[in-house]
């Protein structure tokens, strides 16, 4: 267990729009969490590797390109393959409501769609991550 919540904010796939990811990363940091931002164009493999290396509590995935249907489940698959059970994965971006149930089935805990208040993300993480 950590003293401080550690979060990885990641941009999977080819989408280059990072305004939301950066704003969330900064908000989490200002709320006292340790945040690692991966930068653009991460493969699911790179994301999971970084998450393991950085020993994070949360992975936040951001996609606006519509490729979430493939990339989010792929990340979940890799976490399973690596036997990672205690990282919470959340998502954000341009994700239609009707896609969310399927994503949740793969293990994504929550999807924060456009218009989300960063306070809600902070609260969610604090309520769902155990720290010492």
């Amino acid at each position: 267990m950590h003293k401080v919540i550690r979060v990885l904010i990641a941009k999977p796939g080819l989408d280059g729009h990072d305004r939301g990811a950066k704003v969330v990363a900064r908000a989490l940091r200002d709320a006292g969490m340790e945040v690692i931002y991966t930068g653009l164009r991460q493969t699911p493999e790179q994301i999971v590797e970084t998450a393991i290396q950085e020993d994070v509590d949360v992975i936040g995935l951001s996609i606006l390109s519509g490729a979430h249907t493939h990339l989010f489940p792929r990340v979940m698959e890799l976490l399973k393959e690596n036997n990672i059970k205690d990282i919470i994965v959340i998502g954000g971006g341009v994700i239609p409501e009707e896609d969310i149930p399927e994503l949740k089935k793969t293990g994504i805990t929550k999807v924060f769609t456009p218009g989300t208040d960063t306070g809600d993300i902070i609260e969610f993480i604090k309520n769902n991550v155990k720290i010492t």
Partner: protein, 557 residues
């Protein structure tokens, strides 16, 4: 008509005798009012006195006359309205062709191609990095065959085509020219625009591939190629739009765009091109954001600043080299998921600003922006919006009707001063490339974006439907879905193509590109030859990646 000193005296009197007493019983809603991006204070009222430092003939003048503040052409919309140019493209070339024909039938004047992310980043549809991305945000293009299908029954010599492509612009240009050659259309007849603006990709949009030096070389090669082969083609569309969408303020949008533009011009001049041989083919893509009067002033400021930069800094001689020709997209980031029909109102106001701002071409962001890429209905609504503005409300009957508004003229004058300050800071750092490499520009944009979000969350910035006036019941709109079989079809077609083409010619073409990439020669000609042999984008870009390397992003939160 104006005795400025008398007016100033009277304003002070008005404040003392009428305004202040009135405010005691009827206070103003806020202690201070600001421009919509929060940067500058806004007075209660503006008068002729606020224009006291502005010399009409020197700073404003008449349309089509230096410094072009009132419009770049003498007749503006009285001669020709702005081009209706909706951004579109998705799935397979065939589906995109269908949407283009629809839009042209509905009254769109020019095409604007959206390419998918693999195409923008130099990956073919069958590459591992393309999985899940093919055809999602634009049309998937791998080879000349795809261009042939996109443009089936669309006349390249009469329809102008704008292409939102940056790092892979050399290849897309080659494909367009290659297609024209195949159809027997003279290159001199081709009209259109390549976005070709990699500097803003590093700042705000993320579809860069190569490092800045190589990118600028490719940009300059495109300038040179078009000046010789396709002189009616706009070689670049410098934005603007994307930097603002990433969260920048209005003044940052102006200054960062012009700083980037300066780098491109310097790159072309270094290559030995004459300024008047390529300057008239430089164009821009700006945002039309909230801030109705502010945006109008912004376009005027741009026209003035560009004309002055081209004349005084770069010593351009032809008047066509001084014209700030711009497309706009209404601010997609201002549109929200909640109560989507309200977005039509937002887009209308933004389009009005652009029309009163004298832009040359418009794309309206559609009401379903927060949900998906546009449905046919959303696109049609956007086209109709422009047609209504052009035909029903009389704003095109006279040129630059907002000139003389004390507020707008004040803003224009102020924005020029402020943007010049920021431009000077960037010059002192060493120019846009240096500023990007140091993260100077990105940090400013990130800061502005964060501030904006905080203002929404504290309620300081009201967004109707989001943090105020929320609806219990949300109307549902149709969500556009890209056909899930696109990827499979594209991969099959790619395999077919690769089995049919002449492999020797393919290898020779790639070898030729490699040689030229290592030299100082213009690389576009060799890429045109390659695409005619059905070499794919992925194959060409892989060679260029090998030679030029890849840009490594430094992340700043």
């Amino acid at each position: 008509m104006f005795n400025l000193e008398e007016i100033n005296r009277k304003e002070k009197e008005w404040k003392k005798d009428i305004l202040e007493p009135y405010k005691i019983k009827h206070p103003e809603k806020l202690k201070e009012f600001h421009t919509t991006d929060g940067e500058f204070k806004v007075k209660d009222v503006y008068s002729p006195y606020d224009m006291k430092d502005i010399d009409y003939l020197e700073e404003i003048n008449f349309p089509g006359d230096y410094p072009y503040t009132r419009g770049i052409y003498p007749t503006m919309y009285r001669g020709r309205p702005w081009t209706i140019r909706q951004y579109a493209g998705f799935g397979t070339p065939r589906e995109t062709n269908k949407r283009y024909k629809y839009l042209l039938r509905e009254g769109q004047n020019g095409l604007s191609i959206a390419f998918d992310l693999p195409t923008q980043l130099g990956f073919d549809s069958d590459e591992p990095r393309s999985l899940g991305e093919v055809g999602k945000v634009g049309v998937a293009v791998d080879s000349l065959k795809d261009m042939e299908e996109i443009f089936e029954d669309i006349p390249l010599d009469t329809v102008s085509t704008s292409m939102t492509i940056n790092a892979t612009a050399p290849v897309i240009l080659a494909l367009y020219v290659g297609l024209a050659d195949k159809k027997g259309i003279p290159r001199e007849k081709l009209r259109g625009t390549l976005q070709n603006d990699v500097l803003k990709e590093y700042i705000a949009r993320g579809t860069y591939i190569y490092p800045p030096k190589a990118s600028l070389r490719l940009t300059a090669d495109i300038f040179e190629f078009c000046s010789k082969e396709a002189p009616k083609f706009n070689t670049i569309s410098i934005g603007g739009y994307h930097i603002r969408e990433a969260g920048s303020t209005l003044v940052q949008e102006i200054a960062f765009t012009l700083a980037n533009a300066t780098e491109y011009i310097n790159a072309a001049l270094k290559k030995g091109l004459d300024i008047d041989n390529f300057a008239s083919r430089i164009s821009f893509i700006m945002n039309s954001h909230n801030g109705f009067f502010e945006e109008i002033a912004k376009f005027k400021t741009f026209r003035k600043m560009w004309a002055k930069i081209m004349k005084e800094k770069f010593k351009a001689k032809k008047s066509s080299s001084l014209l700030f020709r711009t497309h706009i997209q209404t601010g997609g980031s201002t549109l929200i998921k909640e109560q989507p029909l309200n977005n039509i109102v937002r887009a209308t106001v933004q389009a009005m600003s652009a029309a009163l701002g004298g832009v040359q071409s418009m794309a309206i962001s559609c009401y379903d922006e927060g949900l998906c890429i546009p449905t046919e209905l959303a696109q049609t609504t956007a086209v109709r919006l422009q047609q209504i503005l052009q035909n029903e409300i009389g704003i095109t009957n006279t040129i630059d009707p907002m000139a003389g508004s004390y507020y707008v003229e004040h803003l224009t004058y102020m924005y020029e001063k402020e943007a010049n300050k920021l431009l000077e800071e960037i010059e002192n750092i060493g120019g846009a490339v240096a500023a990007i490499e140091k993260g100077y520009i990105q940090k400013q944009v990130n800061e502005a974006a964060y501030k904006y979000q905080k203002e929404i969350e504290t309620g300081k910035r009201i967004i109707v439907g989001l943090n105020k006036y929320r609806s219990e019941k949300e109307e549902s709109v149709q969500v556009m879905r890209v056909n899930s079989l696109v990827e499979k079809e594209k991969i099959e077609n790619l395999n077919k193509l690769k089995s049919k083409r002449d492999k020797t010619k393919v290898l020779k073409s790639l070898e030729n590109i490699r040689e030229i990439a290592l030299s100082d020669e213009n690389i576009i000609y060799s890429i045109v030859d390659a695409v005619k042999n059905y070499v794919t984008i992925g194959e060409i870009c892989a060679v260029l990646k090998e030679i030029f390397g890849e840009y490594k992003e430094r992340t700043f939160i």
